[in-house]
């Protein structure tokens, strides 16, 4: 028994997040029984990744505050202020808390024509698929599950999102939801292939699909090595998250938010954050593929957290850029979106692939 615990502790202790700044604090911990173990457990890299960063805490906080950042920034660009009056000295920073609590406490209406079980299941299940890819995303050096096939796995898991959106639309059994669902399905085909090719181009370029290795191989960031692939990936991400100008499936003015027209209460709350979840994951992926992941000048005292810091900063930068598109672009039509996906983006993705091959060839030579 003790052996097992010891082996476990060994594993845990061998893979700790090291933070020099709080080390003195940690040293004093053993005086309190059990807490030492708990802290050690928390600082165990896989658990840290899962619970703190890039997992639940940072992810959750992103969902809670990123819409606020988006609304404030868009508001600023639009000559106004965005959420403000709720704790006005902080500029309404907890606006999303109020919104989400309101959704939580509000009635969930299941209308007569809905497929009741699926209608209720899908929003909650959709939150699960947000967590799965997070297991494979490293923040700096911290990752929950390290595998050489992480990128592929993440891409595969990200592809689940549209399926859920299709599910919402199907379960809603409404005309607008139906049209929105069909559009979502179309768009899915439009962006997925160039998007994956762009990712593959980077895998070829780095010669690995292990995110940690990728980060270490980006002495020159990927975005400079292969800007074309970066562009395709970015546009793909915008399409995948349904951002402007590709907010085609759930276009508010045409289809009343398409697939989720019938959702209310917390079910809608979960759907509302779905695109932010997806945006977070894709931004993280973009950070890893093109911006060097958690690499950056080490900040004294933070240790492993330094990587986490840079990772979060870069992710947020990508996320902000992604979401600021809302302030700049109107919406494409479905056929234009498809055309963009199928021709220029596909061509560009292949060019990106070619660039990668050239870069690899040059490196080899």
């Amino acid at each position: 028994m003790m052996e097992i615990i010891n082996t476990l502790m060994e594993t845990v202790m061998s893979n700790q997040v090291s933070i020099p700044l709080i080390e003195p604090m940690l040293d004093s911990l053993p005086e309190i029984p059990m807490l030492q173990y708990m802290v050690a457990f928390m600082l165990w890299k896989p658990i840290f990744a899962l619970l703190i960063c890039p997992g639940l805490t940072v992810g959750g906080l992103s969902l809670l505050f990123f819409p606020w950042i988006e609304r404030k920034l868009c508001g600023r660009a639009q000559w106004r202020v965005g959420p403000h009056e709720i704790v006005w000295w902080l500029g309404g920073v907890i606006q999303l808390l109020a919104d989400s609590l309101r959704f939580l406490f509000q009635e969930v209406i299941v209308h007569k024509d809905a497929h009741r079980p699926y209608f209720l299941q899908f929003p909650f299940l959709s939150f699960m698929i947000f967590l799965l890819p997070l297991l494979f995303i490293p923040a700096g050096t911290i990752v929950a599950i390290q595998t050489p096939y992480a990128i592929q796995i993440i891409l595969a898991l990200v592809c689940l999102f549209p399926l859920f959106i299709l599910g919402f639309g199907w379960a809603s059994n409404s005309r607008f939801a139906y049209i929105g669902t069909v559009r979502e399905a179309f768009m899915y085909f439009a962006y997925e292939i160039p998007f994956i090719i762009a990712a593959i181009a980077m895998i070829i370029l780095y010669g690995t699909s292990d995110p940690l290795l990728m980060a270490s191989r980006q002495s020159i960031p990927g975005i400079i090595l292969n800007p074309v692939a970066a562009l395709v990936f970015f546009i793909g991400a915008a399409m995948a998250t349904g951002r402007m100008p590709f907010e085609i499936p759930d276009s508010d003015q045409e289809l009343c938010a398409g697939p989720h027209v019938e959702y209310s209460g917390i079910a809608f709350g979960l759907i509302y954050v779905l695109c932010y979840e997806k945006g977070y994951i894709l931004s993280a992926l973009m950070t890893i593929l093109f911006l060097g992941g958690g690499s950056g000048p080490a900040i004294a005292g933070l240790g492993d957290l330094s990587g986490v810091f840079w990772f979060v900063v870069k992710t947020y930068l990508v996320l902000t850029t992604l979401f600021m598109l809302r302030a700049v672009y109107p919406r494409y039509r479905l056929d234009q979106g498809l055309k963009l996906g199928w021709s220029p983006m596909l061509v560009m993705a292949i060019i990106g692939l070619a660039i990668s091959l050239v870069v690899v060839a040059v490196r080899v030579i």
Binding site: A77, R80, V81, H84, W88, Y329
Partner: protein, 251 residues
């Protein structure tokens, strides 16, 4: 002259370079504005936009100046103003804000200057019955909930809009001088056709028209030109249409 001054407008034709350029412009504006925003927001309720003095808001009433001419009630397009008999048997206006459209035709029809405009316009009523405002409540400026600490004015500086903020409360009511006096007086143009019904005397709110039966079976009608306000009610009500408003010259 007609055709020459037509300008043909053609929408832009984009090539790839234009597309990139316009994309850059659009992103550029967004970036520039997020860094140096030209915010145009008034933070109501914590501050309030200063409305000009001629702003058309809630209506106040001064019974001393009212001549009970009914003009406000007659001209009201929404029939929001209805006259109510006061204890002194005069008719005074009441306003139903559930119908009032704030066109202020009433104020523009009030020759005595009894109706006055305020700048109150942000009010929420709990129930519809309270929206009816009797005369008694129109005399003094009502209190409204005010959370404003500053007031804002729009200003043009360097060819752009700026919001000028000043600490303090904006006033809600400004006294304006009464309208120009154009004295009119009612006269009879065809005394022979008078049927002696005395409706004019009944309808006159100022007792300017007197009717007294003298012995010998004659009725003596008299319009007191000093009392007459020239409101025209008698002219309107006379069933024989023998009264007329005439301009009065005071010496």
């Amino acid at each position: 002259m007609k055709m020459k001054s037509m300008k043909k407008v053609v929408g832009p034709e984009y090539n790839l370079g234009d597309k990139i350029k316009t994309n850059v412009y659009a992103v550029g504006v967004a970036m520039q504005e997020s860094v140096y925003p030209h915010t145009a927001t008034v933070f109501y309720p914590r501050e309030r936009k200063k409305m000009p003095d001629n702003f058309r808001g809630f209506i106040l009433f001064d019974p001393d100046k009212c001549i009970s001419c009914f003009n406000c009630s007659f001209v009201c397009p929404a029939n929001a103003i209805r006259m109510k008999e006061a204890p002194n048997k005069r008719y005074y206006p009441t306003v139903d804000y559930g119908r009032c459209i704030f066109c202020h035709f009433c104020i523009d029809s009030c020759s005595g200057g009894a109706l006055k405009a305020t700048k109150i316009h942000d009010v929420a009523y709990k129930d519809m019955d309270a929206m009816f405002t009797p005369t008694e409540e129109m005399i003094e400026l009502p209190e409204i909930i005010r959370e404003d600490k500053k007031y804002v004015e729009y200003e043009i500086k360097e060819d752009d809009l700026h919001l000028k903020r000043t600490k303090g409360e904006d006033y809600l009511f400004v006294e304006v001088p009464p309208p120009k006096e154009i004295p009119m007086v009612s006269t009879c143009i065809d005394p022979g056709s008078c049927i002696g019904c005395r409706v004019c005397a009944d309808v006159c709110e100022h007792g300017a028209i007197s009717a007294s039966v003298e012995d010998g079976g004659t009725l003596r009608m008299k319009i007191d030109t000093d009392e007459c306000t020239g409101c025209g009610l008698c002219v309107k009500e006379c069933s024989m249409q023998i009264l007329m408003l005439n301009k009065l010259e005071r010496e």
